[in-house]
Structures are given as C-alpha cells and as structure tokens.
C-alpha cells in the first residue's frame, strides 16, 4: 500500500483539483480521505482485471469516492484515528500548471510522472555523487535546449567520451530496472504489469 500511495497520491490530488475543481484544502482532505478509506475498507482488493486496467480502476474508485463525498456534503476527514499521510501538497500545487488534456489524460500522465520521479529518486539515493549519475542528470534530466553534447559533457566531467556513453547506458539501465520495480509493486497482477509496462515505455 505504501508503494501504491507513493505512486498515486499526486495523480489523485491533481485529478481532484482539475476534474472536480476543488479548492486546495478540499482536494487535500479528499486525497487523504481517499487513501484512508482505501486502507480502512481495502477497496483496491475488489479490482477485477477483466474489466479495466488497475490504473483506470483507481481513477474510477476516486471519482466514485468524491461523488459520494459531495452527495453527503461531508467534508470531514475520514478514517478517524488514522494520522494524515505526509504528502507534500504544496509541491503538487505548483506543478498543477503543467497539467494539460482531459482529466483522464492528465491522471495517466501524472501517474507516469510519479513512477519516473520515484525511480529517479531511488537512483539518486543509490549513486548521487557518482559521475554516472551526474552525467545522467546533466544529459537526460536537463532541458532539451541546454543539453550538452557527449563531447562537452566529457570535458565537463573530465572523462573520455566513451565513458559518457557507458555512464548513460548504465544509468538508463538502472532507471529502467527501478521504474519496472516501482510498477511491479503497484500492479494488481502479472497481466496488469505487462500491459502497463507496454504503455509506459517508448514514445
């Protein structure tokens, strides 16, 4: 459940803000309430892989939850006795301006972003001071306009160009492994994992 919350809380918060047009406070309450209820009632256990992808199921559960909350006009924080999750809503709020497309498309996009962000964080924790990560950070995480050439990056890090090729290959391989690890942790089953992996990679 921890991995699931880590990957889904931002997509959930932004979806509530964008699709349901909720204020910051309401969206925070609803996000906390949604996960509190999911833990309390174990409603993700009701997932049926024949009906939809797990990601779609989570979004439908969320929409049903918000609709129910609206109907009963209860904005009380759910899950009495459960401490609020430590979620950085301020960061999510500043990222909202980058969302585009329909609420469903935005939800899927945020889900991808969450998975990659978590994997990059894991990679950074693994080798932050390593030249391999520095090369990856400069080349793959930087802006396209300011992306250096391999030769420029080699000069910057004082290594041969072939080493840059090797560093990037290593970092991308590791990132791929970490993204798939995150995905496996939040997938409902093998088929869900395979079909999501198919959609996650390649543009």
């Amino acid at each position: 459940m921890e991995a699931l919350i880590a990957a889904y809380w931002k997509p959930v918060y932004k979806h509530v803000r964008l699709k349901w047009n909720k204020s910051r406070d309401d969206a925070q309450d609803l996000t906390q309430g949604f996960f509190a209820l999911a833990i309390e009632k174990s409603f993700f256990d009701g997932y049926d892989p024949e009906k939809a992808r797990f990601r779609t199921f989570v979004r439908l559960c969320l929409d049903r939850f918000v609709a129910n909350e609206e109907e009963s006009r209860r904005r009380l924080k759910r899950g009495g006795g459960i401490d609020p999750l430590p979620l950085d809503f301020e960061a999510a709020e500043t990222e909202l301006s980058h969302c585009s497309g329909s609420p469903e498309e935005a939800f899927d996009r945020e889900w991808q972003r969450s998975l990659f962000t978590l994997a990059i964080e894991a990679l950074r924790a693994q080798c932050a001071q390593d030249k391999r990560f520095l090369a990856f950070e400069r080349y793959d995480l930087g802006d396209r306009e300011t992306r250096p050439s391999y030769a420029e990056l080699a000069a910057e890090l004082d290594v041969p160009v072939t080493t840059i090729t090797n560093h990037l290959a290593w970092a991308r391989r590791e990132l791929r492994r970490l993204v798939l690890e995150q995905l496996a942790a939040i997938s409902a089953d093998e088929n869900d994992y395979r079909s999501e992996a198919q959609r996650l990679f390649g543009v």
């Binding site: 990659f116 396209r144 991308r172 990132l175 198919q198 390649g202």
Partner: protein, 308 residues
Amino acid sequence: MKFLDDDALDHLRKVIDEPELSGTKYELVKPLGRGGMGSVYAVQDRELDREVALKVTTDTEISARLQQEARVLAKLEHPGIVPVHDFGTLPDGRSYYCMKLVRGERLDRWAERNDLRAALRLFQRICEAVAVAFAHAHGVVHRDLKPENVMVGEFGEALVMDWGIATDIGAPEKAVLGTPLYMAPEQARGEASDARTDVHGLGAILYFLLAARPPYSTIEAPPDPLPRSAPPALASICLKALARDPRERYATAVELAEDVARWLDAEPVSAHRESLLERVGRFASRHRVVLSLLGAYLILRLVLALVP
C-alpha cells in the same frame, strides 16, 4: 528534486526503452512496434551489411518466453512465417532474437485499401501458414491470431507474426494469455489449446475482413452480428470457425481455407445451406460467360425474327 516536465519525461520514456547495442554487431535504425513481450526495432547488421529486425524483451524476467518464441519460429519453415537468424542477450541483460525485416504493412491497414476477394486470397495463405505450423512442427498452436499479427509483405505475401504465446498442443496453461476481443472461449477459460483454437483465431480474422472490427465486444457473449453486406455463405463460414464449442468448428485451418476457396470459385460451401435464390445467384456467377453468350444469342435470334 526538479519537476520532471513533459519533455523530460518523454525523453526518458524513449531512451530507457532503447536496446543497448554497444559491443554487438547491431546498430539501431528505428523502432518498429511494441507488443506484449517487448519492442521490435529495425537495426543494421554491420557484419553482413543488411537491415534486420530485433525483438527485445521488456525486462529480463520474460527471456524464457522470448526464447520459446524464437525456438518455435526456428522450426517453422514456410514463406508465411518470418525466419529467425539469432537469439541472445544484450549488454543491458534483456533477451533478443534477430529475424528477417518484413517490409510491408499490417493486415488491418492493408484491408482498408483492398477488396474482399483479394483479402480472401490472402486469408487462404494465412490459413496455410497456420496449418503448416500445426501439421509440420509438432502441433504448434499460435493462440493470438488477429489482423495486427499478420503482415502483408511488399510482394503481397502474408506473414504470420508474434508467436510469443504459441504453445505445443495440449500443453498446460499457466495463465490466460491472448487478446480478449479475438480470444477463443476455451482459451479465455484457461483450458488447453489445440488446432481448433487457431481455427477460431482465423475465424476472427475472417470476421475482421468482413466487418472491419473484432468479433467480440465482451468475451462472454457470442460474436456481434456481421454487417448485412457480408455474403451469407461467407458469414456462415466465419461463424462456423468462431463456434463457441470447438467441436462445431472446422477441424483444421486447411478445411477452413478449402471452404473459402469454394466460395471464391462460386461452389457450394460446407458451412452453408443455401436458398434457391442463392443457388441461382451462385450458378449465374459461376457461369457468367456462358450465360452472357447465351443471352446475346437469344437477343440476336429475337432481333432476326423481328426483322422482316
């Protein structure tokens, strides 16, 4: 951490999916497509100086399945099945196999630009490739036949692709694999597959050629009705191939192809009991030249009789 904007996210999604080819004889040309097990790329074989296709797994855990597919393909020798050149592991740990690069387009796109008779002639060749796999390669069943898995080559040849979930006849099922909108009912129930499972898949392809859509909206229901424009005898052939009970289908892909051949030759087909009107129509179609000459002769006789 800095916010990962859409541009950076797309860049990462692309670069981490590319196969690592350093130290191999291959050089990446372009991605060709994605499937359940991984991606296919056009690559340049530097040693032989030719372009080939490389199928690479999504992750290292399904290497065994890719190897199984490569082995199945390696023992199928037929013009309708893509030959495999090599199998191995890339520096990034992912498995790959190298095969002939097929230049052409997918059947579903090709069918949009071609008439039904041309599509049916191609369909016969698809049946033949599937039949060969079963008869000559120790009972290999494809299990995922659909228009997206058939390529039409630049010379009009049909190539059956993606044998990733192919299995030997009667092999125990480990999981329900396949494409739900085309899947045979026994496959959806997780039961063992046989030649009739592929007959169902071929029926689903025939359905697509007649209706331009998959046969099922939901797997529990019978096929959606075919459009009224579908010739009745062909519709009967299609529905027999798609029968829910495997025993009511054609026993083999060859039998199915033979019935389609009969329809193309305006002969009666085994799956259809035709009405008198249909029989007359088929007779007229089959003897069009003779009937045209006879008609011209009768008109000439009539004209001559009326001329004083």
